[in-house]
Structure formats: C-alpha cells, structure tokens
C-alpha cells in the first residue's frame, strides 16, 4: 500500500509543482510560459491525485491512521520533490 501511496502522492505534488510558474519554467526551460488554462488543469489534476491517495489511506487504515499516514508520506514526498527541483535547476 505504501508503494502505491507514494506513487499517487508523487503524481499529485508533481502536478501541483508544475502548476506554479516558477517550477514550470525550471522544468520546461523557460521556452513555454505557463498558460492560465494549463495552470488550472495541473492544479485540478494535482488535487485529484492527492485526494485519491488520501481516500486510499483512509480506506485501508481507517480515518485516524489514514490521515496520519497520508500526512507523513506527503511530507516525505514533498521534501524529496523540493530538493530535486533545486538541484535539477542547477543543470
């Protein structure tokens, strides 16, 4: 379950990160600017992935343990993504 969870949360946070122009331009090399439409799509997708992952943890572990697990995994995944974004940008 944890493996699937990490994949879902990663998908969610990657979409949300890309929905911010700062990180979109880091990844896509300033060639494309983030359009309003694309931003909404990415935000919607990101939130959906995160909501799905939260639903999964709660359905497997119950509400208390589910929210706890989800928060912990979200912290880990977002930390890794934040660090990767910094060091990818350097290249």
């Amino acid at each position: 379950m944890i493996f699937v969870e990490i994949i879902l949360i990663t998908a969610g946070f990657v979409c949300l990160a890309l929905s911010l122009s700062r990180h979109y331009e880091q990844i896509f090399n300033k060639k494309h600017r983030l359009s309003q439409k694309r931003m909404f799509q990415l935000r919607y997708a990101g939130c959906s992935w995160l909501a799905l992952s939260l639903y999964l943890t709660i359905s497997v572990e119950g509400i208390a343990l589910g929210i706890t697990y989800w928060s912990g995994l979200a912290t880990l995944v977002s930390l890794v993504i934040a660090m990767l974004l910094t060091y990818i940008a350097k290249d």
Binding site: L16, A17, L20, A64, L65, T68, T75, L76, L85, T86
Partner: protein, 521 residues
C-alpha cells in the same frame, strides 16, 4: 506599535521564537529520539538477547515465575513481558519494596531472561532509552513540576511561533517547493520555510498535543477551583477524568485454579489473533490476587488493551478495558496517542522521525536566520561582541547537542560496568559534554567554528559503531546474521548521522566563516 497586522505578527514570530529557541531545540531532538526509544534501549543494553524464533508462551511463563519467586517473592507486583514487535525480549520485572535499614529504595526492577540458557542475564546499569526520551519533558536536574511548567511555557510559545509563521508566510503555496541554494539569507529562509511548512500537520499536532499532555500543570487553576487543591482532591479529579468503560464477564476458571497459567490460556482463547505483551501478577501479598494480561499495541487500534482477572463474589471474572467514559478524555487519548506514536508500524515510525528531525532543523535554521540578520551590523574583530558570542553559543547548542548525545552513547560503552550510580553518570556525561561545548565555543575564535564543530560531530558518530564492536563484540555483520535488527539499525543510523554531519562540514567548508559576515552569506 507596528503599522500592519503582518508586521506585528512578524515581530511576534521573531521574538516568541527567540525566547525558548534553544530549549525547544533540545526538546525536539530528545523527543524525536523518543520515537526509537525501544531500539535505543536495546543498543544501550547489549547483554540482552533478542528472541528471533517462535516461542511457547506457557513455557516462558513457568520459567519466568520460577525466577521471580527466587528474587522477588515478597514483592506485591510482578510483570512478565513477552517478545513484542519492537522489543523482542523476555523480561521479568517487579516492584522492590523499600528497606530503609539496608538503604534500599522502593523502585521497579527489571531483568532480562536469555531463552537459550533460561538464565537471568546481568544487564549493565544504564539510563536507558526511557530516560533519554523523558528529557524532552522532564528536563534534568530540576524537580519535574518545574520542568513541566517550563516545557509547557515553551510549547505555548512554539504554538504562537507556528501560527504567526503561517500568517506572515505570504507566499506559502507559491513557495511550497522553493529552495534557492547559494543565496545567503534567502536560502536559509527557504530552508526554514520547507522545514516548517512541509511537516506542518505534524508540527501543529505535536505542539498542541504536547500542551494537552501537560494540561494538568498549565490548567491547574481549573482543576483546583472545581475539585480543590489538595492531593486527595486531585486524585478524585484524576479518577473521574480517566474513568474507563469496563465490561465484566464471567470466566470458566475455578477460584482454586486461578493462576497466571490459567489466565494466559483464557486470554489466548478469547483473543487468538492478538499478541500478548505483558502478564502481571498484582496484589500478590493479599488474598485478592489480580492478574493482568496486556496486548501488544502494534496490533492495530483495538479497543481492548488489557484484561484483569480477579475473584468477585466467589467467581473468577475478567474486566475487559474499553475506551474512556468522558468524551473529553477520549479526545485527550486520541491526541496523546498521536503524540506518542506508540501505535505506529516501522514505516510510520520513520515518517514521524523524519518530521521530528525537520522540526529540529526548523528551529536551528530559525536561530541562524535571527543571527545572520544581526551579524551584518556586528563587530567581527571583537571576540565578545554580543551577536558573535550568541552565534558561537548557537553552534554549541545546534551541533553541541548531537555531540553530547554521542558522548552519552560512548559513556554507556566506556564507563566501568561495576561503577556506582552508573546510570546517573551516563546522563552526567551528556550534560558535561554540553557544558564543555558551551565553554569551548565561548572562547573559540569565530573562524572555522562551524567547520570544526561539524567535523567533531561527524567523527563522534562515525567512530561509535567501532567502539561498540571493540567493547561488546556487536558489529554490523554479526547483528545482521543474528537478526538483531535494532542493534543493526542503530549502528547504521549512527554512521548515517556521521556521514550527514561530514557532508555538512564539507559543504559549509568553503563558505561558512563566522568571522566574515556570518554563516553562508
């Protein structure tokens, strides 16, 4: 009076953080270690033998009771602990009665039983993982009530710091993933933000639940005004507040057959899927002997935590503990369990640990930001310039505390086994190291202090597994082969901590120079 709300909150965030920063760092570091209390305890008691294979509960019971009869026949309370997930040992413990004539205190004693030889093992006298984690609310050397008041106050300021932090962080979503490296103060602010915002659910939970756990100290006025201020009055409050639903059921045990063995069989029959963690024999010196059976917390959130068997009106009955009666007590329980994380499996436990470490980094980077903003206007040529002195003392705390912890672990291996008050001296060595660190940093020149401290920290942790091997024979290979996972994990974590510190020393090596314009500017 500041011009805007946000400016006021900024002021409040800076100064509420400042007041208890170092104490909160101490609390967070020792508290975070507490999530691995059992594992640290195992390392601190290398003589214990972990149980790797399947065991027969009844056989262990017979053997344990024999040992207890030999050493603790006049004790009113016995406990036999079974191998549990994080504590794979068989231990016996008993309440030793006071004997003023022979200078013996009333205290709990514990011994480990080696299943290979069925003998009691002589374990070194150590402060243990429990004392280490309790530092985070008991502090040390001061009466516990005063410690609770100080920690409670610090926690309140922490909560203010968290909430004002969220308020003043205008771009909290936009900068969620942002870390701009090599940009001096901006970089430190980014890291401080990441360490605060990403684990925000944990920080809010741990701070609020921490306040709740100390509520009988901070909200003493409420208890006193409702129940009275005497000791009996507070006991009355405690009994009412912690009242549990308890279901009493008949058992088929005959009164003359009541023993730990029959109780064990009955408990296993009722809950065949649950692992038993403790069996207790209480009120042994009376006619009304009570038997307790406790279940391993790790087996999910099951309302039954323990059973109590005793005689009632000629029959043997079992009291099955349920949840608390009061709704407020149930909420307290929920937050207490979240805070302590005893229910967590190994993955969630590491996530708790990670969030705790990020909290330590949050506080440390907050200190560094406060200092860096003021070092610009300080005089680098004067050793005891106010800001530079604080900056050096900051290093003594931020890097000095991990070093002091390493010293504590070294003392466990290096102090003579037969030394009097050995456990107290392990703790003394932690605080002596901390004190020495403060004094050394006070007089050390600004230049290279970060680098030197980080290298000292790296070396202390990297060499520890070697000292473990030289003094006890335990090493990475033998731990792996014997499936001694706690020992292995501890040694590996020490190496990882040392490596992280070495990386920091190298990364900061070229840039950090306190005598120029502060750290990393």
């Amino acid at each position: 009076m500041k011009n805007s709300f946000r400016q006021s909150m900024n002021w409040l965030h800076t100064w509420s953080g400042f007041v208890f920063a170092w104490l909160l760092y101490f609390i967070f570091v020792t508290g975070t270690l507490g999530y691995f209390e059992d594992e640290i305890d195992r390392w601190l008691k290398p003589e214990m033998t972990p149980v790797a294979q399947q065991i027969d509960n009844r056989e262990i019971l017979i053997n344990a009771e024999q040992h207890l009869t030999q050493v603790a026949d006049n004790s009113p309370s016995w406990y036999i602990s079974y191998p549990a997930n994080r504590s794979p040992f068989v231990n016996i413990s008993w309440l030793q009665l006071a004997d003023p004539a022979n200078n013996i205190d009333k205290e709990w004693r514990e011994k480990n039983i080696d299943l290979n030889t069925n003998q009691v093992v002589d374990v070194r006298d150590t402060a243990g993982g429990m004392t280490l984690y309790r530092l985070h609310y008991n502090l040390h050397y001061i009466p516990s009530t005063i410690a609770y008041i100080i920690v409670s106050l610090a926690t309140m300021f922490m909560l203010i710091g968290l909430i004002t932090g969220v308020i003043i962080h205008k771009k909290i979503f936009i900068e969620f993933f942002t870390f701009r490296a090599n940009k001096g103060l901006r970089s430190w602010l980014d890291i401080h933000n990441i360490m605060s915002v990403l684990p925000l659910p944990f920080h809010l939970m741990i701070t609020y639940s921490g306040l709740l756990l100390l509520m009988s100290v901070s909200m003493i006025g409420v208890i006193n005004s409702n129940f009275g201020a005497g000791k009996d009055d507070s006991k009355k409050f405690y009994k009412l507040a912690t009242a549990e639903h308890s279901e009493q059921q008949q058992t088929l045990i005959k009164p003359q057959d009541l023993s730990a063995d029959t109780v064990l069989l009955d408990a296993q029959a009722r809950y065949p899927t649950q692992n038993i963690s403790y069996i207790g024999v209480l009120k042994r010196t009376t006619d009304d002997v009570h038997y307790e059976v406790w279940f391993d917390n790790h087996q999910g959130i099951e309302l039954v935590s323990h059973l109590t068997y005793h005689q009632h009106e000629g029959q043997i009955v079992v009291d099955i503990s349920g949840e608390k009666v009061g709704e407020a007590a149930q909420i307290y329980d929920l937050l207490e369990h979240l805070h302590e994380g005893l229910f967590a499996d190994i993955y969630l436990r590491w996530l708790y640990f990670l969030s705790g470490l990020m909290g330590c980094a949050m506080i440390a980077t907050g200190c560094i930001i406060w200092l860096n903003k003021r070092l610009k206007n300080a005089n680098p040529n004067k050793l005891f310039d106010r800001t530079y002195t604080l900056a050096r003392l900051n290093i003594a705390v931020v890097v000095g505390l991990p070093i002091a912890l390493a010293v504590f672990f070294y003392s466990n291996r290096l102090l003579p086994i037969e030394m009097a008050n050995r456990a107290q001296w392990e703790m003394h060595s932690l605080f002596i190291s901390l004190g020495l660190g403060l004094i050394i940093c006070l007089f050390h020149p600004n230049k290279h202090l970060w680098r030197n401290s980080l290298w000292l920290c790296a070396l202390s942790f990297l060499i520890l597994p070697l000292v473990n091997f030289l003094t006890t024979g335990h090493n990475l290979f033998s731990s792996f082969l014997q499936q001694d996972w706690q020992m292995l994990a501890f040694d590996l974590t020490m190496l990882a901590t040392g490596a992280a510190s070495a990386w920091a020393a190298l990364a900061l090596g070229q840039k950090a120079n306190l005598s120029q314009t502060g750290v990393n500017s």
